[in-house]
């Protein structure tokens, strides 16, 4: 039973990180029908920023929760700025272009950001400090570690806050409106540019949170971590229904558990086979994902 629970917790951790990144993918797609391939790199930049800030602050003698909070907040602000700028330079000018152009632009920005960090920082793997302290009440718990608990709780809080934001605030309503019909929203006086910027900012912030948390958990980062995390998170978003916020979270968790149990009970060799096989299987029966809405073209 312990083994099952450990795999469950492992899958939950992984799934939470996928969910945090997938939220960014799904929100951006919902608003402007663009798959932001550079999103994985925002996650990576969040991790790097936190590392730099944490190293600087710990030299000044800071430690514990305040270090994690401060490093996390600065990483979030910095990544949000990156997301905002990314949208303004790479996607906004191409809003009226054919579908393929912003996609290529996104891939280009992804490669650009990876190599920028590679040149500005280093190609080496860097050790990331364990910013999440071990809880004393968790000492005897073997199935879950403190950092895994923190990841789970943070993801839950972030998801709840985001859902409340989208449902009850004016900006949230504006986001839903723009996602439904951009032109009509514009005609009704919604500032579409601002809505799009806010979407990118929120998505990037969530990805940065994910980056900081998982890097504290794993202990190392590298300029390339955004690549695989991005692909898996994108898969999670599609699995749950791209464009749907609860879908992204569900997709992330389902993907995380599938991978974890596939490794634990079958073989680690087939981890990715199971993950992507599941994606194909779901898409065959529900082409728009588990919670996706089938949108009909109105003529």
């Amino acid at each position: 039973m312990d083994y099952f629970l450990e795999l469950f917790v492992g899958g939950l951790t992984r799934g939470s990180i996928y969910a945090l990144i997938a939220l960014g993918y799904t929100m951006v797609y919902g608003i402007i029908e663009l798959i932001n391939f550079a999103h994985g790199e925002i996650y990576m930049i969040g991790a790097f920023t936190a590392l730099i800030v944490a190293s600087a602050l710990s030299l000044l003698g800071m430690s514990g929760w305040s270090l994690l909070m401060l490093a996390g907040v600065i990483a979030v602000i910095y990544s949000a700025a990156y997301g905002f700028t990314l949208e303004k330079i790479a996607y906004k000018p191409l809003r009226k272009a054919q579908r393929l152009s912003p996609l290529i632009s996104a891939i280009g920005m992804s490669i650009f950001l990876q190599n920028y960090v590679l040149l500005a920082q280093t190609s080496d793997f860097l050790s990331f400090p364990a910013l999440i302290k071990e809880f004393s009440f968790m000492e005897n718990v073997t199935i879950m570690r403190s950092s895994e608990l923190v990841i789970f709780i943070t993801t839950a809080i972030a998801t709840i806050l985001l859902s409340l934001f989208i449902k009850f605030t004016r900006m949230g309503k504006a986001m839903r409106a723009v996602a439904q019909d951009k032109t009509m929203a514009m005609l009704l006086g919604v500032n579409v540019n601002r809505v799009i910027s806010v979407t990118f900012i929120i998505g990037s912030a969530l990805a940065a949170v994910g980056g900081v948390l998982i890097s504290s958990h794993i202990g190392q980062i590298n300029f390339y971590i955004g690549f695989i995390a991005g692909i898996k998170a994108f898969t999670a978003a599609v699995l749950g229904g791209i464009g749907s916020v609860p879908g992204a979270v569900l997709g992330g968790l389902v993907l995380g558990w599938t991978e974890s149990f596939a490794t634990g009970y079958v073989s680690s060799d087939y981890e990715d086979v199971f993950a992507f096989g599941l994606l194909v299987f779901i898409l065959i029966f529900r082409p728009s994902g588990i919670l996706g809405k089938t949108s009909s073209e109105k003529v």
């Binding site: 492992g10 990180i17 190609s123 080496d124 202990g219 634990g264 680690s268 060799d269």
Partner: protein, 401 residues
């Protein structure tokens, strides 16, 4: 001879230029486009022509010079530069200077194949590289067809020499089966473990090593409780660590490189597992200790035998410190030795012809920082071997046999 060729090419170029001007005048835009293409084609031919004009012995140095495995490739490049500098100062090889053609393959097989084609077309006479087994394997056919001798300081996949497919390949490092045998012997004789888990990273190097380890264990009557591959670069490895813990293995034999090893070892130690971690020369790297930090303590890894008492080795390391201001990294001495053997073999053979150089490598003994070495009919080096190392107080220390 060369000068005549250059003159002919220059003349041709002049002819083409005048023709182009006439065409532009007569046909306007259409002629302009065609002529531009013609012009570029001739310029291209001229430039490649000039590559043949230079008279040097070209040593291609291929490996990971950037990316996450650059710490394995850059020391080799530095070693080549230092050795070539010394050789050129003494007059070069066959009366010509040696020229280095660096080529970055980021340890990826697809890139390595392209790199090999480029080195061949750039006129490389011999090649030092590649670094990673997968990349080397992908590149060797290109070199074989171009009849170029290749010597690697680090590609340890056994098939590269034992299969007989690549008679142009040599290496100054022992192949993986000897590494695997050392790991298995150590686990069973020194650590006296009963249950083992064998994990690899699905790559040519890691999986090859893991399969040899598995076969060795089975020969000794022990079936590994786990034999699985992980995907490098994944977000988290808790599932495989859980599986190892659940299997009750006393030791993990890991075939692969240091990034994943660091992640797995950290996860294992954080889960308070007492399992031994034994790995290969892909993990015997200071970057592993730097990244894994305190969790690296007690990790075992095989690596080339300790040659720190060898006077040539001491001199080579001092030279690196003086020129580059830092300690050389992994495989530096292997690369230093490889370059020395290659260049001396060319001198002894009297040419860069593949058969002559191969014969010279096999029939002569060379003084290198690794000791006195030669090469057997398969291309493996005679006179070198592997040792087991353990991380003690943040450094790799050779473990007594």
């Amino acid at each position: 001879m060369r000068e005549l060729l250059m003159l002919c090419l220059a003349g041709l170029f002049y002819e083409v230029l005048t023709e182009i001007f006439q065409e532009i005048q007569s046909k306007g835009e259409e002629g302009m486009k065609r002529s531009l293409i013609f012009l570029m084609a001739t310029a291209f031919i001229l430039f490649t022509g000039s590559a043949f004009a230079a008279d040097t012995v070209k040593l291609g140095v291929a490996g990971a010079h950037s990316g996450d495995l650059a710490s394995y490739g850059l020391p080799t490049l530095n070693a080549a530069k230092l050795v070539v500098g010394d050789v050129n100062a003494k007059g070069g090889v066959l009366g010509k200077k040696v020229e280095i053609l660096p080529a970055d393959d980021v340890c990826k097989p697809e890139v390595a194949a392209n790199v090999a084609s480029k080195l061949v077309s750039d006129g490389a006479n011999v090649v030092l590289g590649h670094i990673c087994s997968g990349a080397t394997k992908a590149a060797l056919n290109t070199y074989k067809e171009a009849k170029i001798v290749v010597i690697s300081p680090s590609a340890t996949n056994v098939d590269l020499t034992k299969s007989g497919d690549y008679p142009n390949f040599f290496r100054t490092i022992s192949p993986d089966d000897s590494q695997a045998k050392l790991e298995v012997d150590f686990a069973l004789n020194k650590l006296k473990v009963k249950k083992v888990a064998v994990i690899h990273d699905k790559g040519d190097y890691g999986k090859g090593l893991a399969e040899f380890a598995k076969a060795d264990f089975e020969k000794r009557g022990i079936n590994p409780v786990l034999f699985e591959g992980i995907t490098p670069g994944a977000v988290d490895y808790s599932a495989i660590v859980q599986k190892i813990k659940n299997s009750g293995a006393d030791a993990v034999i890991y075939g692969g490189y240091h990034p994943e090893a660091a992640k797995i070892v950290s996860a294992m130690k954080k889960k308070k597992m007492k399992t031994f971690f034994i790995s290969d020369d892909g993990v015997k790297d200071d970057t592993f200790i730097k990244v894994a930090g305190q969790f690296a303590e007690g990790v075992y890894a095989t690596g080339p035998m300790d040659t720190s008492k060898n006077p040539m080795a001491i001199a080579a390391i001092d030279q690196h410190k003086k020129v580059y201001g830092s300690d050389p990294g992994a495989l530096y001495l292997n690369a230093y030795a490889a370059t020395i053997c290659l260049l001396q073999a060319i001198d002894k053979a009297g040419s860069t012809n593949i058969d002559a150089v191969s014969k010279a490598l096999r029939t002569n003994w060379f003084e290198t920082p690794l000791g006195k070495i030669s090469f057997d009919e398969r291309g493996d080096a005679k006179g070198i071997g592997f040792s087991m190392y353990e991380v003690e107080k943040g450094k790799y220390v050779e473990v007594g046999k």
